[in-house]
Assembly symmetry: C2
Homo-oligomer: 334 residues x 2
């Protein structure tokens, strides 16, 4: 068994209270006693038991996070930023994978509740189906949604302005002369899907181009990008540009176009969304809308801490403006 504070106290010849006070610095202790305690702790290799501390203090110094799918390239980036930021304040991250399934998501959330995490960060699987679990848990502890949010429920959210991001992409390709612009994105069962779709439509209306190209909505995966590209290729003509709902889709589209000898950006322009690590490494490197993970993570934890400090703070939805990263999938090297 590990060494306890009681053993430290005994060796130092003080009460456990004094030992605890020295070790946590919660109250002044005379210098000689403090030295004896520290020495004893050092010699014995004492490490405090975080479980016992958590039980007594009523907080675990642990934050729970549920993501739809860890291996999906965008999520690890945000998990990483969140984890680093938690480290700065000495907190730990309990990470759960929802396997894209709202039912599993619910169970994972409940497991985190059981673990008495001090707060919950969640990227909801579905705008609709994640509703009840989220509503239930947010009465018990601070909850912040990142990237996506559920419908019809007021809970803190921080993400990127998907609509604005899409506008950037659409206006960029339009400024390069594209008039026939197709959308390949994901179905509207996530807020990200909805926002990006809505942003696309608004931008198209604003620049006044006819919407005579299909809006293909599937999943946020490369496979769907491939299929959608095949659909476009099977038509009798190609759009000038394909604006994609995320980078993975765009990469799928790129792949299929390449396979069918359609040249990007000469024959068609392509944009992505997220700026995942691989976007810059694609062929051609992908013009995309960058999500600032560090900022997202920072705001997210700020929100969480604000709510923890005062559960009655008004609910906030923080939409950060994304930026466009122009690469060769739209402007090719001369």
């Amino acid at each position: 068994m590990a060494v306890t504070i009681r053993e430290v106290a005994e060796r130092a010849g003080v009460s456990v209270a004094t030992a605890s006070r020295v070790l946590t610095g919660s109250r002044n202790v005379s210098v000689d006693l403090a030295e004896r305690v520290n020495e004893a702790a050092r010699v014995l290799g004492y490490r405090h038991n975080a479980v016992a501390r958590a039980l007594r203090r009523g907080r675990t110094n642990t934050i729970g996070m549920v993501v739809p799918e860890i291996s999906n390239p965008f999520f690890p980036a945000i998990v990483e930023s969140v984890e680093r930021r938690l480290q700065m304040t000495g907190r730990d991250l309990l990470l759960c994978d929802a396997q894209q399934d709202p039912e599993i998501e619910r169970k994972r959330i409940m497991a985190l509740v059981d673990h008495q995490v001090d707060g919950l960060i969640i990227i909801p699987v579905s705008a609709k189906a994640s509703h009840t679990a989220l509503a239930e848990v947010s009465t018990r502890m601070p909850v912040v949604q990142v990237d996506r949010f559920v419908e019809e429920y007021a809970a803190d959210w921080v993400g990127v302005d998907g609509s604005l991001g899409m506008s950037l992409a659409v206006e960029h390709v339009a400024s390069l002369g594209a008039t026939g612009i197709a959308l390949v994105s994901a179905t509207l069962d996530t807020s990200a899907g909805q926002q990006r779709h809505a942003g696309f439509e608004r931008a198209m209306d604003r620049i006044g181009h006819p919407r005579d190209w299909p809006q293909l909505l599937g999943t946020f995966r490369a496979e769907w990008g491939r299929s959608a590209a095949a659909i476009l290729l099977d038509g009798d003509r190609l759009p000038d540009a394909v604006v994609c709902g995320n980078d993975e889709i765009a990469i799928g589209v790129l792949g299929e176009f390449r396979r069918r000898h359609v040249h990007v950006p000469d024959d068609v322009l392509i944009t992505g969304f997220d700026d995942i690590r691989f976007a810059a490494l694609a062929d051609p490197p992908l013009t995309t809308v960058r999500q600032p993970h560090e900022q997202l993570a920072a705001e997210c934890i700020r929100l969480l801490d604000a709510r923890a400090a005062d559960p009655d703070t008004p609910v906030q939805r923080i939409a950060i403006a994304p930026t466009l990263v122009v690469r060769e999938s739209t402007v090719g090297t001369p």
Copy 2:
């Protein structure tokens, strides 16, 4: 405050002991009492407090994991598999990022110790520098290394046979007629780097090709792949094949070659290692050595549980044979 088992017991008109027995199923309880307890728990929305339970039971049902860098594409895949497998047995994952820094890694390991995790899964940052922290912690709890292992220390490990993997790659390109084969991999400060380098050399010896091409060792990142490719391109002739230490490097090499109009696989063959998600999406799709994450995760947890059950089980190093996935970076479509 949350509902406690005491309140459940009161409402059901039984002792907390009985309530606990019903709720955990640890002993037989008469059906009517059991029903009353379950009903009371249901009505009150009782959830057990995992912290209190952990303190009493001496185990947290939580496993700690430290990875060098969450956003590095290979690691999330393995984290995901581990997390899923833990879910199956009702355990949770406390995930830490070492930020590629052995000192931070040490701190994270200690934080996990403090949290009383039941076991530790670690992908060590460095074969040398991670040694002491690992040695220290492995006396306190079950520890299993995945993917990489530290030098001079006998602790359980499960990973892929990097040497064999490299042989597969080398022999594959050799069988396609390549004789001038270059290696672009990472420095020897990780076991993965060492194994893959050694495997390359052994395979070259075995097939009897002269080793007259450089072995370029840098980091496991695409940037390094780019730089290394530039070095190769600046020579007066090109190798027949470039065998890379991982997929990211290979993707970097591909990118640089493409930029300099070297055609893959016509001018030069390229192989990667890991089979990350984007290997198949690269241009051309990357021939690579596949790491079976699911198996790695399964073995890893098996090992961890075995050591937890009996701390004196002999140390095991399990090397799983990887398989070669042939794609167009070596065999181009006709």
